[in-house]
């Protein structure tokens, strides 16, 4: 079955009792909500979800958005694009719990691979609440605010990018000569590669949250897109062209390149890095990764806690208590001032 085909209700119905089925992260099977019969999900054995696609920025790109016949909706509140399968039509957006409005002429790209949920709802709920309860200097009422919110499971679009870089660089660094500090400049060349850089293709998972929840990514765990994995979960389609994904990835790549250049130069006290890189061998994948998102609002500011649907790692946004920060600052100030006072009183140096 391809992504573009209309998902018939029958595909997600139990062959035993005709009840509706949902994907179960616990068993990895399609499970009937009525009689609990488990149906093994068969995937296309010829599909290669690990395959990467080449992209040359100097050539016209042939990948065209696909106009699909399924039902994309766009939330008026947060802009999240969401697709619902089978009976799991919800009137609330899983990102922000806002109402959904159908968007005509929605376009999307074919998803090349996905990893289904392996962390269930209860586990994700516990992980999200535990994460919130472990925050330092959080407002006292934060836990009670968050306890009223539930996690929502959603497949979020991600990119993986590969590239090869030939980098000519210049570094400015400091050298101490006696009591003087002088600036020096050095140039060099290095070749480096990026492999499977993950970049969210959705505004709902920020790069910071990605780095908190996705510590390991194994392309070998990718499976071909199969609607049965989405049953009971929401999914956001890929809607960015490759150049947009690369543009968003550029900031991360530049930061990583600067760090690699600093290491490659072998200089201490590098104060400035400039470089020109020749990027070749760009390859990409459009994939869906599972996350559980818990939305809450604190003092009018919308925030989210995200649990990875693969390993259960959790990261998110949190408020701080000004009073607790001030109290901690006062404690630290007392300790530092006392240390300094004793140091000065005994004329240590």
């Amino acid at each position: 079955m391809t992504e573009s085909s209309v998902i018939a209700q029958a595909d997600l119905m139990c062959t035993n009792c005709a009840g509706q089925c949902e994907y179960s992260p616990r068993t990895g099977a399609l499970t009937c909500k009525s009689c609990a019969t488990e149906h093994v999900i068969t995937i296309n054995p010829n599909a290669d979800p690990e395959a990467e696609h080449h992209y040359d920025p100097d050539l016209p790109h042939t990948e065209q958005p696909k106009f699909t016949q399924d039902r994309p909706y766009q939330c008026e509140t947060c802009g999240g694009e969401v697709i619902f399968q089978g009976h799991s039509i919800s009137e609330n957006c899983p990102y922000c719990n806002g109402s959904l409005v159908e968007r005509p002429n929605g376009e999307s790209y074919v998803t090349l691979g996905m990893i289904p949920f392996s962390v269930g709802n209860e586990q994700a709920q516990d992980a999200a609440h535990n994460w919130v309860s472990r925050r330092w200097a959080a407002p006292s009422d934060l836990q009670s605010v968050v306890s009223g919110s539930n996690v929502s499971g959603i497949y979020v679009p991600f990119w993986t990018f590969d590239s090869k870089e030939a980098v000519n660089y210049t570094v400015n660094y400091k050298v101490t000569r006696g009591k003087k500090t002088v600036m020096r400049t050095d140039s060099g060349f290095m070749k480096t590669e990026f492999d499977d850089l993950l970049m969210p293709a959705s505004p709902h998972v920020t790069p910071l949250i990605r780095d908190g929840i996705l510590h390991e990514f194994e392309p070998s765990n990718l499976r071909p897109f199969e609607p049965a994995y989405l049953a009971g979960f929401a999914a956001e389609r890929h809607h960015q062209p490759v150049r947009e994904g690369l543009r968003q990835n550029a900031k991360d790549k530049a930061l990583l390149l600067r760090n690699r250049i600093k290491k490659h130069s072998g200089k201490n006290s590098v104060v400035d890095v400039s470089y020109l890189t020749d990027t070749t061998g760009i390859k990409y994948r459009r994939i869906l990764l599972p996350v559980w998102i818990l939305h809450y609002e604190y003092n009018g500011t919308p925030m989210k806690v995200v649990t990875c649907g693969l390993q259960g790692r959790t990261f998110g946004e949190r408020p701080f208590s000004s009073v607790k920060l001030l109290a901690l600052a006062a404690l630290a100030s007392c300790a530092v001032a006392a240390f300094g006072f004793v140091w000065g009183a005994y004329n240590i140096y």
């Binding site: 910071l208 104060v271 990261f315 920060l325 600052a329 100030s333 007392c334 140091w343 000065g344 009183a345």
Partner: protein, 103 residues
């Protein structure tokens, strides 16, 4: 009288001042702690969060430096002498901060 009470009042004022500007460094410290334990090391988000930690070192160093002057003032009962003698300490402190900033 000033030499007896002065250092005590000064250190209390220093604590109040350091605490009032300390909320930001403490917030940064908490974010760094969270990053060290929860973000993937070597990731862009990790680097971004760790950058700017020097603000914590500057806050601690400045508080400590003024406290040393007050401590010495209390010990020798001569503020101008304590300030004069803090010059070498300041030089050492600036060198340490410079080295930390370069790291």
């Amino acid at each position: 009288m000033l030499n007896q009470l002065g250092p005590i009042i000064a250190v209390l004022l220093l604590i109040c001042l350091a605490a009032s500007v300390g909320a930001y460094p403490i917030k940064k410290l908490i974010r760094i702690q969270e990053a060290k334990h929860e973000l993937r090391h070597g990731s862009p988000g990790f680097f971004r969060t760790m950058s700017g930690w020097i603000v914590i070192a500057v806050w601690v160093a400045v508080t400590w430096f003024f406290a040393t002057i007050i401590g010495e003032w209390w010990a020798i009962e001569d503020l101008s002498a304590a300030i004069h003698r803090s010059g070498r300490r300041l030089e050492l402190l600036l060198r340490i901060l410079e080295a930390l900033a370069d790291d």
